[in-house]
Amino acid sequence: MVVLALPAAAAVAVFGSLYGAAARVYLGVPLTLASSLLVYSGALQFALVALLGVGATVLPLLLTTVVLNLRHLVLGAALRSRFESGPRRRALLAFFLVDETFGFAIAAGNTAEPPAVGATTERTLLVAGLTLWIAWLIGTLVGVMGGGLAAVEHVAGAIFPVLFIGLAALAVRRPSHVVRALAAAVLTAAVAVLLPDLKMLAPVIAGVLVALPGREP
């Protein structure tokens, strides 16, 4: 599973370079590097740069941070039932919880034998998280040094939908999950078209809404 994270890491590095090149204009080199080191959230960091670009003050930056991070509550809750370690180790693992690492961890846990689900999920989250974090940092460093990889942005942009489709396929455990996944995709597309400001939150909102109805496992 970790080897399969390498294409995602390459794509993350490309986007990291684009982030580094864009953010250094508004943040300067030290804060740009610090942001990737401490925040480790591509969607949020790009959104913050966009806000800084239109002259946003502190409050919009913090509100955007809160809103975009709401999805972590759902991802964390979905992972929590698989974790078996104590709060200290879970606190360490939490730093590495991003959309992609959540996917790798869930997929790895789904393929593990029942007694090994917890350890496999935690190990995958840690290793995939470290891999993508390092890729994000390297990409940011390349970007702030003026080496943006814009030429391969389109190729990198194709990796994420492919990755998420593959992770969805791995996460399906029952036929009803396919129906729910399709419903969530349609709901997300509708939100993206009708309420574009909610596009970043749409996946989590749709994921939760389609998960609630029904009594079947």
Binding site: L4, L31, A34, S35, L38, V39, L44, L48, L52, L61, L62, T65, V66, L70, H72, L73, V74, L75, G76, A77, A78, S81, P87, A94, F95, D99, G103, H154, A158, I159, P161, V162, L163, F164, I165, G166, L167, A168, A169, L170, A171, R173, R180, A181, L182, A184, A185, T188, A189, A192, V193, P196, K199, P203, V204, A206, G207, A211, L212, P217
Partner: protein, 97 residues
């Protein structure tokens, strides 16, 4: 943006990640059933979101073809095959487009 604001953003982000992972007790079986339905739905939604730009505009032909290739490979339930299917789709889309 000052270093202090950056630290606040980092703390909010980490707090949102840790809130459920660290503080939430192990969920009840009923809640666990609901949670087990979420990952596939979220990934399908994320895939959809990455295929749509501002105002719902579709991504370019190669990206759509890559997604189609991955979708065709998805019944195999193998991430590797999905990546291969996506690569073939992207190449075909780039060639056609």
């Amino acid at each position: 943006m000052s270093p202090l604001v950056l630290v606040a953003i980092a703390l909010i982000t980490y707090g949102s990640r840790a809130a459920a992972v660290v503080l939430l007790p192990r969920p009840s079986p009923r809640f666990e059933v609901v949670l087990s339905r979420i990952p596939a739905a979220i990934f399908a939604s994320l895939a959809t979101a990455t295929l749509l730009g501002d105002g719902g505009a579709l991504a370019g032909v190669p990206v759509l073809a890559a997604a189609a290739g991955a979708l065709l490979a998805s019944p195999a339930r193998s991430l590797l095959l999905c990546l291969v299917g996506g690569a073939i789709g992207y190449a075909a889309g780039a060639w056609l487009g």
